[in-house]
Amino acid sequence: MITAAVQEREHYLNASYGIKSWLLTKDHKRIGLLYLATITLFFFLGGAFATLIRIELLTPQGGLVSSETYNKLFTMHGVAMVFFFLIPSIPASLGNFFLPMMIGARDLAFPRINLLSWYLLVIGGLFSLFAMLAGGVDTGWTFYTPYSTTYSNTWVIATALGIFVAGFSSILTGLNFIVTVHTMRAPGMTWFRLPLFVWANYATALIQVLGTPVLAVTIVLLFCERVFHIGIFDPVLGGDPVLFQHLFWFYSHPAVYIMVLPAMGVVSELISTFSRKPIFGYRIVACSSLAIAVLGFLVWGHHLFVSTQSVYAGMVFSFLSYFVAIPSAIKVFNWTATLYKGSISYATPMLYAFGFIGLFTIGGLTGLFVACLGIDVHVTDTYFVVAHFHYIMVGGTIMAYMGGLHYWWPKMTGRMYPEAWAKLSALVIFLGFNLTFFPQFILGYLGMPRRYHVYPEEFQILHVLSTAGASVLAVGYAIPMMYFIWSLRYGKLAPANPWGATGLEWQTASPPPAHNFEETPVVTHEAYDYSTVIGEVIEVG
């Protein structure tokens, strides 16, 4: 039920009604919400697989499921989370909704292609879902050959086809963002007046357009070898299995930046808004997004240190991998410098931003450990690596995603969420996350390999801690799900600019009109100029 005050005014939610008005919509805001619903489903699906994995690992005997089923569980957890939640998460939902608004545009450059990209994600998701329901796939989300092409008798092709189709969704979204930022900025919105969220999504879009086609090609080659026995990766047929790893990681390492760059963009918005200061070193933070996008393409070989990759190439990739730390560190230091003498408020989005900075820093620094050839040989394919990338993907991306969702929820729905519950859940998620994944660093260092469900008894205590943490984390994620739905009906009405923020998206009503702005905004100030804000700041305790 929407109250009379909101219902009287026409906005994008009440501009038209009926299922067709959603399934055939070309409004970037509605498409953003369609993405939001889709990725939420996959998040909970991937979460269900993770729950089963963690329950299985409570005991060292591996008694709950068979080894084959366990292989399928971690594969499907990875496929659902990486390809159908994390990659589309921030760009396709929050980016779709807010990128046009933040540059003062009425929509993305290609609204029909935008809708098509959502359909492609759904079609790809259905293929993979079918594969999961029909019996699953057991190759790991990395589909390493020759196991995936020659030996696995599970649903490899159906799953890979789903990822292939979803990849085009990602390419089209990236293309749309690039063209939109180039051609649809409002008068006065110069490149160095763009909000950092837009810069981050622009850099992400470059990766999506340049990298994802290589994933598509790799999947086609995998298909050709598995179905037609054309020798590409299988040594028996004259192929090279390490070639698959090169092609796969040429996309999949930059894909980590597809996940985390938009998250960094969200954090820039949050840090600035809730410390009421422009981001320290705005230009260098903007350029560091592009630097991460470019350098991210030069480091993939660090995933191949223990394959038959040459030692020379290993040294080159190790050397290059350290470079990515520089623009990442620039961001972290500049966010921290922004806080200095800021008027900091501890609203829920800011708590998530703080969580991001801490957890991403741990994830990033342990990334330096595994970029080092000697250390990587010891910890490769152990829980150390599992912990490292979860600190980036969950501790980084999902924390920022949650922060962004809380930050923009009032704009999207016209309703405030309950602040006390939100703060509680942010705290629960932070604690649950660390309890889940910190013990995994120790497990990995002590030698616990990933992808095994039977393990020596001395590792049990750390696994029990991790499973307990996962339970806390699950509660932490369930609480926002409930109060977000609750707020749609009972939440306090949101003013146009509840946080006193500076972006153009806050200069229009909550929820926004169908075409975003009554009049095209004219930009006369730099980004994050708080002297211009006339916000209806509400007290959030």
Binding site: H182, H246, F297, G301, L304, T308, Q309, S310, V311, V316
Partner: protein, 99 residues
């Protein structure tokens, strides 16, 4: 954006060129040129790619930004090939005990 449109004759010539190169690829595949088989096949493929990009995709008459996008794509292909080859061409160059 340029509104330049090539003549039908130009398109027909390019089409004929592409067909000729396809036949050439097929023929070369039946001739043993030793290590040069791959080189010749890739050379023909590059020619075909250039014909499609320059004429059918109108890159010849496009803006500098569009040309930059094409060059960016080629540069990224170069990164993929160069760094992959940095592995494949140097395997065994440095001895490692146990390998």
């Amino acid at each position: 954006m340029s509104a330049h449109i090539d003549s039908v004759k130009t398109y027909a010539l390019v089409f004929a060129g592409l067909i000729f190169l396809t036949v050439a690829t097929t023929y070369v595949a039946t001739v043993d040129l030793g290590p040069f088989s791959v080189v010749v096949a890739l050379g023909i493929a590059v020619c075909k790619m250039l014909l499609v990009a320059l004429f059918f995709m109108h890159i010849r008459h496009s803006t500098k930004l569009t040309k930059l996008v094409v060059l960016g794509g080629l540069l990224w292909l170069g990164i993929l090939l160069t760094l992959t080859m940095s592995d494949i061409l140097t395997r065994g160059a440095l001895g490692v005990p146990g390998r």
